[in-house]
Symmetry: C3
Amino acid sequence: MVSKNYYDVTKWDKGDPFQDIGEVINSILTDIKERQKKSDENEGGKPGAVIYIPPGDYHLKTQVIIDISFLKIEGSGHGFTSSSIRFNVPKNEWSNLHELWPGGSRILVDLPESEKGEAARAAFYVNRSGDPRISSVEFSNFCIDGLHFIADGSNETNPENTYTNGKTGIYGASPNDSFRITEMGFVYLEHAITLYHADALTIHDNFIAECGNCIELRGWGQASKVTDNLIGAGFKGYSIYAENFGGLLVTANNIFPRGASSVYFDGVTRSLITNNRLHAFYPGMVVLDKNSSENLISSNHFLHDNEPWAPLQGRDNGLDYTFGLLSINGNSNTVIGNHFSESINPNKISPKGAIPVIIRVVAGKENYISNNHIIATKAEVISSESCFSAQVEALLTTDSAESLEVKTVLIEKQSVGNTVLDSGSEKQVELDKKVNAFRATPIPNMGSMSN
Amino acid sequence: MVSKNYYDVTKWDKGDPFQDIGEVINSILTDIKERQKKSDENEGGKPGAVIYIPPGDYHLKTQVIIDISFLKIEGSGHGFTSSSIRFNVPKNEWSNLHELWPGGSRILVDLPESEKGEAARAAFYVNRSGDPRISSVEFSNFCIDGLHFIADGSNETNPENTYTNGKTGIYGASPNDSFRITEMGFVYLEHAITLYHADALTIHDNFIAECGNCIELRGWGQASKVTDNLIGAGFKGYSIYAENFGGLLVTANNIFPRGASSVYFDGVTRSLITNNRLHAFYPGMVVLDKNSSENLISSNHFLHDNEPWAPLQGRDNGLDYTFGLLSINGNSNTVIGNHFSESINPNKISPKGAIPVIIRVVAGKENYISNNHIIATKAEVISSESCFSAQVEALLTTDSAESLEVKTVLIEKQSVGNTVLDSGSEKQVELDKKVNAFRATPIPNMGSMSN
Amino acid sequence: MVSKNYYDVTKWDKGDPFQDIGEVINSILTDIKERQKKSDENEGGKPGAVIYIPPGDYHLKTQVIIDISFLKIEGSGHGFTSSSIRFNVPKNEWSNLHELWPGGSRILVDLPESEKGEAARAAFYVNRSGDPRISSVEFSNFCIDGLHFIADGSNETNPENTYTNGKTGIYGASPNDSFRITEMGFVYLEHAITLYHADALTIHDNFIAECGNCIELRGWGQASKVTDNLIGAGFKGYSIYAENFGGLLVTANNIFPRGASSVYFDGVTRSLITNNRLHAFYPGMVVLDKNSSENLISSNHFLHDNEPWAPLQGRDNGLDYTFGLLSINGNSNTVIGNHFSESINPNKISPKGAIPVIIRVVAGKENYISNNHIIATKAEVISSESCFSAQVEALLTTDSAESLEVKTVLIEKQSVGNTVLDSGSEKQVELDKKVNAFRATPIPNMGSMSN
């Protein structure tokens, strides 16, 4: 050990990290607190520590409880591999597989089922009352694996496809400042990251996939960033959710299916969803709900197509195609310069025969919707046992596709003072022109090329 | 030690890193230079080294002087916590606080006050003359803490609120190439990062706050990136400043108050300010000065509101509300797709009764200002002793706000050939239509919803 | 060694990493595979490992062959310095230079010339057949140096300027998932990174320059990100190339000269090129070829000027100035909110007297080109022996420049149903209005300021 503040879980003399890394880390935390008892007026005294997790399989049977600032937990490998694909390979083929499980510096979440609730079943539980808020806890470059999903009473025939197991990766309960979650892998957790009351949070460059829900910022919070992540929740959950948040920057993420939504804002203000790649199998990709206002949604690429992977076809998020790929309930938002690809099989449209809606203002005033380009085409539904090749095939299928009629923008009746510019033709945009402003995207002089 | 080129400051046999880490690192640098004397024609010979700083409190009484390439200095914790909040807690409550100071791998900058000037009071001073330019110096994941601000002759009653102490974190004097500053924490420094003559610089994913000035790129430079940082300077200083720079990419930053400006460009060309969250308490948030030209400012979210935290209310940057949230002195810039929220108390407007200006072209031709959405509302001033809750409360207050009259765009008289599209109504945009092009944002047919 | 899954190449008992790090790493890989033979149904068993490369000069004479998942190879220094500048310094001045070579944790690629082909001459060759795809291989913070370019039969007088040596940094042959390449340095390789069949790939925050080609994503792939890199290929090669890819996010990169292209897409769909700084010395900066469709190109800054550095003046990519800075062959793409600076010497235009084209749709329907701002000016050609100061001087020269006539948008005749809005005047945009939609950028009432 190079310093008393540098710990390696495999070198610590209490507990066996391979049997229960939770016990080991808690014991290390006790040691840190015993050594760093006082912060004096002139210098410091509580610098915290780093806990290193080398690559390996570490069962976690005891919840790690973090109540000190300046703690970094770091591994050497985010270790993601698709458990979802493997759990849908017939078991008699498993012996042919190179490996069965995620890897890297991997925590196997084995918390007892007797514990109930998101917080109690969290591998890492962060909570401290009093002042100051707990600060600068960092998680970096290790893997948190929930191992299995379980039967949940639904009609899923394969329990590993339920996205349900009551397990959480990281749960923050108390107000916190300057946390960092970077280069991590999360897989097969019902909730990957749940943080209440975050300030100046960084969630950057992680791989968070095949989790029921990926990122949930709850309670309230401000001035944070969720950037440059690969993210994809299960069909029932959130990829990114935020609640009563101000000044959240969601950018440069590649959010792939199959979340019930890609980004969901409840009462979020003055925040950005910019410059993301968003791909989903259901409507309601981005939802601004509960009076989310003064947000900027720009330079995103939205793709909605149908699930091509056989084992998960037939699931959905229950929303009709009239819900909108982008749905807004709030005021003074800016929606500009986004590309939307709606590439779906007409038979999948619900309710039957409905005209799909792309951007929908459910309620709100002074939203500014400008220069969005919407492409809607009819697609065959691909069905394949191979997840990767099916998705690539679907993605690359744009040629000679027939146009599909959509409402590019729908401003619902109770909404006034909104502005819609160059985001669709007269026919494609529906709004009350007496109380909203509209300029149609120009069409060729002949008028024959554009609907 | 795993290699002669891997150093741990706590294992080095000369000096005591806790007493003076500067002396220790300089001694290590001497060792590297003695061992790596020659670069031969066929192979290499001067690969540099890494110096590791485990979590701990390390006083720095001697300036570190870096004059070799390929040096990495790395810690295990950026260690930010708010010193500003704590210094505004009454001292008799300090004993109730969990901790008083920043932490992680923390450098306490204790340079003697006898040294004067930004360069002399820098914790890390980088300088090398001759060729080639010094290259690939990397700073990663440690904390540089200036400890205290001091009385500066102003009327600040709490000297810890002055943002003045003459201390610098990292200072680069000579032309440099391919430097990296990542995952660092900077706090309570008058200047966090000052670099002259940078080429291909990366300042990425840092936490730079409660510093007089955060990032200053001086002299001239090119082809660099300032990305994905959390940044917030003091009320007198720069959050991001660049001078005579070409090809600077400022993106994905969350720049919070209370800098005198968020981004300030002096003579900067062909650069980008895109996709940032910008929040400030004063006008002059983004300034393009001294003929800054051919820059792109797009997809940013600007929020200007009033300081809600009692201890720092009453400070400002001295600019009138007619200065512009975005002020441009230069040619051929592109300003497109930005959202502006001006949410202020009318009584705070200076000069009294003035109409605030959002985008202002002071002088310049052929600027292209298009599709910006400006929301201006009257706000109550919140005043709270709690910094976090006050800011969140202010951020979330958008409801039922009354409109505030603003000039969304003002093109000053000496400016010609500029184009303003869909960025405000006839009444909101002021320019000479004889020499500038204008298209008003459409308003509803009834004309009653929009001013 | 802190764990059996943590390896330090300088501590391994087989081979000498300074003589042949390839042999050492292959020996370590054998050890990992011998120890991690089985993945059992309940737990794991194959977590992989991390291999650490401290700063130093490591010759690689044997190719590293990676066929296991969850392998991280990590150094402590990306070690870039400009070899190109140094190889153009007269040899009699070399003894005055501080150092001659790149550094950090540096691999010197010394593979025998008897091996032929991109794959055989790759320092790191990744390949595994069967299922699952190889996953979570990570490369981080070391340098791969190809050392020298060689004479290639062209008329380059200095063989070090050919960008040819047959060497590759990282080559992935088989389908792969969740790979990470971060904080690396690549220099003087003919191909830095070549990956076939990538899924959920992260190429983030690297320095990839002075390579024949930088990033090549071949075969097909999906859902990946190339973000926040500093990139610059040689004059014959690709900076970023992708083929048959869906859902690729190319953002926040600073791509400097002198690649034959900055970003080249062949048959790429539903992908983004957003928010990048792009600088090139030749036309054809961004090319969407072979029916690349439904992509979003927004908020980028394009700069095309002439090579100012004497040793490399006279090279080009063979394209005429009528090719377009952005050239599109495909459907339904969105091009919005980009800034283009064309700053060239009229005498450099080819063919002589031609009018340069900025955005060109070679073939395609339903492309949406809106709110792009094009600045074209005549420039002197600077010629300097100093690369850095020449480039900075060129970058900063925007003042009092005379306008240059360009076609801001050209829609070729076979293209129909495209929309061009606010991206140039009637004179600057050429398209068949009968089959494409057009709205000219407004000009001042006087009509005298704009062409």
